[in-house]
């Protein structure tokens, strides 16, 4: 479904990725792990169009993503969350989710300004859908609050809600468990698995929490210093000597 082929990128002489290749199958949960600075988030930023790689190819369901700007990539059915949460802080929780539905709404500026009945109906339906989504993620009581006023755990959940509002086929989660306590992490794991099972989502996640990674991934790719050093089932990865070495070597992070 998503095919990342031989990606390399350098930032001012610093090489962040060297020939990174990975394929993600439909309905798969793939984890990208590796020490800090290994290039995990860089992969996300290339797939979503924020960075241009110096070489390599990225295709999604047969389309060349490197030829598309970020908003067009979102329209292809790719949604993401961010390592340092990027909620729309001064907007309400409900509006955050409604912006997630942007590509599914049709009203342009003129129709919106004229308040046509078709627009009112579309808005009402979008609000209902957004509230239902918030309820599923346990955020229904926060709908009217400013997103920036929420504790970090809820902001992360809101980001997930916003991404899901786009009804993506591929979901990229950048450290979804960062800052969560073990109970919250456990709940998050269940949510992620349920999303895959109920909606047929394909999920790629970058995560440091090994319990989460080992618990829900179908497959794990390990990055170190911009290179993929291992790729396989959780059991294989846990036993692989190269991985253990990379982690012991990078333990200071």
């Amino acid at each position: 479904m998503l095919s990342v082929d031989d990606l390399s990128i350098t930032f001012g002489g610093l090489t962040a990725l060297r020939g990174f290749t990975v394929d993600v199958a439909e309905r798969e949960i793939l984890a990208l792990i590796g020490p800090n600075g290994a290039g995990k988030s860089t992969v996300f930023n290339i797939v979503t169009g924020l960075y241009r790689p110096s070489s390599g190819r990225v295709t999604f369901r047969g389309r060349d993503l490197l030829a598309l700007p970020p908003h067009a990539i979102a329209r292809c059915g790719i949604a993401r969350t961010f390592q340092n949460t990027e909620v729309f802080r001064r907007l309400t929780v409900l509006d955050n989710v409604l912006i997630g539905r942007h590509t599914h709404l049709s009203a342009g500026a003129l129709r919106g300004a004229l308040g046509l009945p078709t627009v009112a109906r579309e808005e009402a339906a979008a609000r209902d859908a957004a509230r239902a989504l918030l309820a599923r993620l346990g955020l229904e009581d926060a709908a009217g609050l400013e997103a920036g006023s929420l504790p970090l755990g809820l902001q992360k959940r809101l980001e997930l809600a916003r991404a899901l509002a786009a009804e993506p086929r591929l979901l990229l989660l950048d450290e979804p468990a960062g800052g969560l306590n073990p109970t919250e992490t456990q709940a998050l794991m269940e949510v992620i698995v349920r999303l895959r099972d109920a909606h047929g989502l394909t999920i790629v996640l970058v995560e440091h929490d090994m319990e989460l990674v080992m618990g829900i991934s179908d497959r794990i790719a390990v990055l170190n210093d911009g290179r993929k050093i291992a790729d396989g089932k959780p059991r294989e990865i846990a036993a692989a000597p190269v991985v253990i070495e990379a982690y012991l070597g990078g333990e200071d992070d």
Binding site: T48, G49, L50, P69, P70, H71, A74, R75, A79, R80, F82, E86, V87, F88, R89, R90, L91, D95, L98, I99, G100, H102, T103, L105, S106, A107, G108, A109, G112, A113, L114, G115, V119, E123, R162, A163, A166
Partner: protein
């Protein structure tokens, strides 16, 4: 709770010319003109975080377009003149907005500031069209068989147009386009990741903002009756920015409130020309210190308790 308030407000606006002396009817028309500009500027700066110190330029484009249309085609309905003013300014907004896509913050502020100067210079130099520094007399606005020859008639025109513009803005900011603009202000990368086309919406914000200001310019021309380039200097652009700061960035009702406060204040300080900038500056600083979200957020806090 909402409808009675709107009804009372509407009744007040209708009754105003009977309650107030003629000069205050004229002043109220200016409040409406400035309120429309402030809404337009707020859509650009408060909603989309693109600063403009050149909105007097858009106002001038709208005002001169309406005045020239009304002069060339005597008897043209005022609605047509205002529409032409809106479209003319919107076109200029598009031409300015596209190159400004690459600019942010201070650089954008400088570019729009320069735009304001360019417009004034153009008016001064295009004498065959604008009569330059001599100024341009604006014909009486006409609506079918009626000539809007009194302050009261022009006031009602301004109020009707203003009400429509406020209504449209409120609709806009509550729907998809308004949310896209706010998303850009809050986080460009998250907006893009949600499928918001940055360049399209930033340009659209410029066009809508200019369109609003163009309509206001057309009204201004008919309300004041005489145009000259010195009326559209950079201080007017700064006034507009002050209106949305005092009123509240990212708020349509706040824009109207800010426009009303500053227009009336400007007028009452007209007798103290030398102290005007001093008082004005002091008010702006005080407002930012003690009412950081402007009138809009102060009201929200009072309501919230």
């Amino acid at each position: 709770m909402r409808y009675p308030a709107v009804a009372i407000g509407a009744a007040g606006l209708v009754a105003w010319p009977w309650a107030a002396p003629p000069y205050f009817v004229f002043l109220a028309s200016l409040v409406v003109v400035n309120a429309i500009v402030a809404i337009g500027l707020n859509l650009l700066s408060g909603y989309t975080n693109q600063l403009s110190f050149g909105h007097a330029g858009f106002l001038a484009v709208g005002a001169y377009t309406a005045a020239i249309v009304a002069t060339r085609w005597p008897g043209v309905p005022v609605v047509v003149a205002l529409l032409t003013a809106a479209l003319g300014a919107a076109l200029v907004g598009l031409l300015l907005g596209v190159p400004c896509l690459r600019l942010e913050g201070l650089y954008l502020a400088m570019a729009t500031l320069a735009f304001g100067f360019v417009v004034v210079e153009a008016i001064v130099n295009l004498e065959w069209l604008t009569r330059g520094n001599d100024g341009l007399r604006v014909p009486t606005a006409r609506l079918g068989p009626w000539a809007l020859a009194t302050d009261t008639a022009r006031y009602y025109l301004a109020v009707l147009v203003g009400a429509a513009m406020v209504w449209a803005a409120l609709n806009l900011v509550r729907t998809r386009t308004g949310r896209a603009l706010l998303a850009i202000r809050e986080s460009e990368i998250a907006a893009q990741a949600s499928g918001v086309h940055l360049a399209k919406y930033k340009t659209l914000a410029f066009v809508i903002s200019a369109l609003y200001t163009g309509v206001a310019g057309g009204l201004f021309a008919f309300v004041v009756g005489f145009l000259s380039p010195d009326a559209f200097d950079v201080f007017l652009s700064v006034d507009f920015v002050a209106m949305i700061i005092v009123g509240g960035l990212g708020s349509v009702p706040g824009s109207v409130a800010g426009a009303a406060v500053l227009t009336v204040l400007n007028d009452s300080l007209a007798g103290f020309q030398n102290y005007r900038p001093l008082l004005f500056g002091a008010l702006l600083i005080a407002s930012m210190l003690f009412m950081p979200g402007g009138i809009a957020s102060a009201v929200r806090r009072l309501k919230g308790g």
